[in-house]
């Protein structure tokens, strides 16, 4: 079963760059001066790579966050990271020259995590173990606060700016060339390496924070390092693609259901299938409607939301 899923995934990834709105004439694919060459090498291929690495980062970060917070429903997005990056991007779009707005998404994500950590540290002064629930509540409160700020920005900005902001919140994988792919690829591989470096700590934290502490893990410190590293990587991805929701939530759960293994054995599958999931979603978004591309956030949420509800229903029957 696993083998067939693997092979199907690889086939899907190989096919993905070849099929799209523009029908490529494969005879010209190595002819540098043809349009086919440009579409394939500058548009399609970078797009597939970007989708893969972003999806991988988002789903692995979901797995790590779920471990840290001991809550199966948490992703960097539920903690306000996405709304933080949207708000900052909106601010940049309105008040700064357009070319720096990539920075906005990154700063927003990073700022949010630091703020969350600062607040939760004040709450957890008297315990060696972080009270993760308070962290979550603060995160949710923050996202509402950010949305309110965003509404405020909408009322003071003009139509063109409004459109740019809305377009950003839907997420997009539209890129030209490999320039944007490299930072995301590097960041995703670093994240994978990093998570493996902390495998022992993460494994112990999969039991309980108390048990991890008793086995010598400095839980608070490790939590902070993991959160910071993961948020950094997510921030980089978001700044290029906009917030693409639901992957971090859905993919770790699908992989767990297929593999039926403890999460510390699933770093690579979650990383890989996260990438595949976004490649496939992007494939659908490009090909479902002729002559137009659906926003990627729409497709992931279209698949993600019903599945999420299914999971919750299934959990309650246990």
């Amino acid at each position: 079963m696993k083998k067939s899923i693997y092979s199907l995934s690889i086939i899907a990834m190989i096919i993905a760059p070849f099929i799209g709105d523009f029908v490529i004439n494969y005879a010209n694919i190595f002819n540098e001066f043809s349009q086919d060459y440009m579409v394939f090498w500058d548009l399609r291929l970078p797009r597939v790579f970007l989708a893969f690495f972003c999806g991988a980062v988002l789903s692995l970060s979901g797995l790590v966050f779920q471990t840290i917070f001991k809550n199966a429903l948490i992703t960097p997005y539920t903690l306000g990271v996405a709304s933080g990056s949207t708000l900052f991007t909106a601010l940049f779009i309105i008040f700064l020259p357009s070319y720096v707005y990539v920075l906005g998404g990154f700063l927003g994500a990073f700022f949010t995590i630091l703020l969350l950590f600062f607040i939760s540290n004040r709450i957890n002064k008297n315990s060696i173990l972080a009270q993760t629930n308070s962290f979550l509540l603060v995160g949710i409160a923050l996202s509402f606060f950010y949305s309110a700020c965003l509404m405020l920005l909408f009322t003071v900005s003009n139509f063109e700016e409004n459109y740019s902001i809305v377009r950003y919140t839907l997420g997009s994988l539209d890129i030209v060339g490999f320039n944007y792919v490299f930072p995301v690829a590097v960041v995703s591989l670093l994240l994978l390496r990093f998570v493996y470096a902390y495998k022992h700590e993460i494994t112990l934290m999969l039991t309980s924070n108390e048990n991890a502490f008793l086995k010598g893990v400095e839980v608070k410190k490790v939590n902070f390092i993991l959160l910071l590293a993961v948020s950094f990587c997510v921030g980089v991805c978001i700044s290029f693609t906009g917030p693409i929701g639901f992957i971090g939530l859905v993919v770790p759960h699908i992989v767990k259901i297929i593999y039926k293994k403890s999460a510390y054995k699933l770093f690579w599958p979650v990383f890989f299938f996260g990438g595949v999931f976004l490649v496939v979603c992007d494939f659908i978004s490009r090909n479902l409607i002729e002559s137009s591309t659906l926003p990627i956030g729409v497709v992931t949420a279209f698949i993600g939301a019903p599945f999420f509800i299914y999971l919750i229903v299934r959990r309650s029957y246990k």
């Binding site: 471990t67 999969l206 086995k215």
Partner: protein, 230 residues
Amino acid sequence: MLHVNNYSSSILHDISLDITQNTIILGANGSGKSTLAKVIVGIIPNNNVQIMGKTHEQLSAKEKIQYINYIPSKLEVFDEYMSVQEFLELSFIQTPTHTVKELAKLFGLSSLLEHNCQTLSSGESQLLLMASSLAHNAAITILDEPTSNLDQKKTKRVFDILNSHNYLKHKIVITHDLNFAFKLGFDIVFIKKGKIAFHGSSGEFFEPITMEKFFGKSVKIVENFVVSNL
């Protein structure tokens, strides 16, 4: 071995303790027994506890796990697919004195090794925690109500292990099973409303006068068993 110097919080008041040998902590529900255990192992941060002459700040992470371990009364495992075998493997902190298989056999868990921790019954979970304490094998092990969910036979097995010198070096057992405490014969620390009401030998504690002072007329020693009149 273990020293608590004048610790106070909202639950515990003026706790000073010097523990040098196997000890039982007795007390009613909510008297602060588990809180005291958490203070001692450092889950509740403090500077009042000294283990082998060092405070929690002075202990390195490596020293800490070699010196002290705490076994909670309930097993907590977040990951739904973590197996009994994996949990036990995680409990070893140094070269193991027993293998996973030996430990599982000792507690009758052999057939459950492949099962997920979350599917265990409360009794099985407690036995798994007991097995993990032997795997960890710290210099001092604090066991929080290790028999609260066990049937007679399993309680006896845990009793025999705690009573033997072959397993676990120093033991601090939290319980409110008076007969269990009586039979083990360890030193007794009795906690009442967050204060230490008694600290002394088992013999002194189970004197009829002391017993009546703490439990009224409801508890008696009959034919070498502690029985309580319901």
